[in-house]
Amino acid sequence: MLEKILPNDIYDILKNKVNIKSINEIRMREEKPIVLAIGSQRIFLGERGVTGNLNEALLSSKTMIEDIIFRASECSIYSVNEQLKRGYLVTKGGIRLGIGGDIVEESGKVKTMTNFSSINIRLPHEVKNCSLSAFNFLLSENGILNTLVISPPGAGKTTFLRDFVCQLSERNYAYNVLILDERGELDLGESGSIGNFADKISFARKTIGFENGIRALSPNLIVTDELGQKEDIDAVVYAVNSGVSILASVHSDSMESFAKKPYFEEIIKNKVFKRFVLLSMRNGPGTLEGIYNENFARLHI
């Protein structure tokens, strides 16, 4: 998919002079150097591959950024406007473009985004078995324990969720899994697997997705990315009260800072989540820092 959205010259350099599989992010800002995130390293892209020399770095232009967004929308910006309004765009293969530009508001509501000035292209990776070391801690005799995966951005939360769903299927745990893919990142389509027992609702807000999904698809487990708003927490409580297990993720860099996040006090106090998986970038994305129980006591590592 990357070759379909990037300008040919940039893609050729990445293909021939950089290991594309090692890239986590490509950042482009108007008239600024193109920056690659490889592991925890940030490095410029030059004509001869990666470079630490700013003078050799290739610059992004406004036209280049606009063209990438146009291409990523399959040459149909109007068809992805709901995503653009929220500042991102996800391509078919799960590549996520975070977009900077001007928000156009009308009657107090976001109408669209224009005048694009920067993009952060996040390349998804299927890291097979990355959830295995935590797998057994998240299961009980009664099924899957409500689990929250905690990590800073780009540290492998989504990859962990995706692999866990895949592992369930590979181990013949025939749970009906509902993937509530609000941003279209969880399912990589042809290039990744979510197993044989997963249904998917994409691009719906969590409140709508949880309610419709529970009614229509009777899942045993709902998997969703990035809880953050109060309505997300309400949706989780609704699902748990309906007898559905939850595997979700949240942005935070430690258990301490997570405990202070707004809206989460109540569900922490009520011990809604029985397991917390903490990931970091310490040894590259997906480093398992610890598995905790509902009392924040460390169970592993």
Partner: protein, 164 residues
């Protein structure tokens, strides 16, 4: 032999008349197809948010025929096989005037570049321009299309009369 040659010359003049008349018909059909394309875009973009490539792929055969390959050329741009350039978009199209090509090129350049409201307004604007071009192409076809064949026949007869 003389009769055979005269008949042949008469056939040639009639054929030239037919070619001219066909050109007017092709133009009328082409602009009509563009108007219909705008109508289809407006519906698909407003209601199903269908992507451009699918809209083009789902055109019926008659409409595709009347667009003379301009749709396939645009699809090849979507597929990143060719840049969107005027020469490429109108390759093999010889029946359009330069100013008409400019308007149509602007239309294709604007496709897929904005949100639903703006795109819909742009398409309606271009549809109006294409309707005007279509009306004049239909009028031209009525006026000069049949006239060209008639002139071809008359010229053929004149040649026969003059040389017999």
């Amino acid at each position: 032999m003389k009769i055979l040659l005269l008949s042949l010359m008469a056939c040639v003049t009639i054929y030239i008349g037919y070619v001219f008349s066909k050109k007017y018909k092709i133009r009328a059909n082409f602009f009509q197809a563009l108007v219909m394309l705008c109508q289809k875009f407006d519906v698909e973009i407003n209601y199903s948010r269908e992507r451009l490539k699918n809209i083009f792929n789902n055109l019926d055969e008659k409409q595709k025929h009347n667009l003379h390959g301009i749709d396939n050329n645009f699809i090849s741009f979507i597929n990143k096989e060719n840049p969107l350039e005027k020469e490429f978009l109108f390759k093999n199209i010889k029946f359009l005037k330069e100013e008409e090509k400019d308007v149509i090129f602007m239309f294709f350049k604007s496709l897929g570049r904005s949100d639903v409201d703006s795109q819909s307004k742009e398409i309606k604007n271009f549809q109006t321009r294409f309707e005007t071009l279509s009306s004049s192409a239909i009028a031209e076809n009525k006026k000069y299309g049949s006239l060209s064949i008639k002139l071809g026949i008359v010229a053929g007869l004149v040649i026969i009369v003059l040389f017999i």
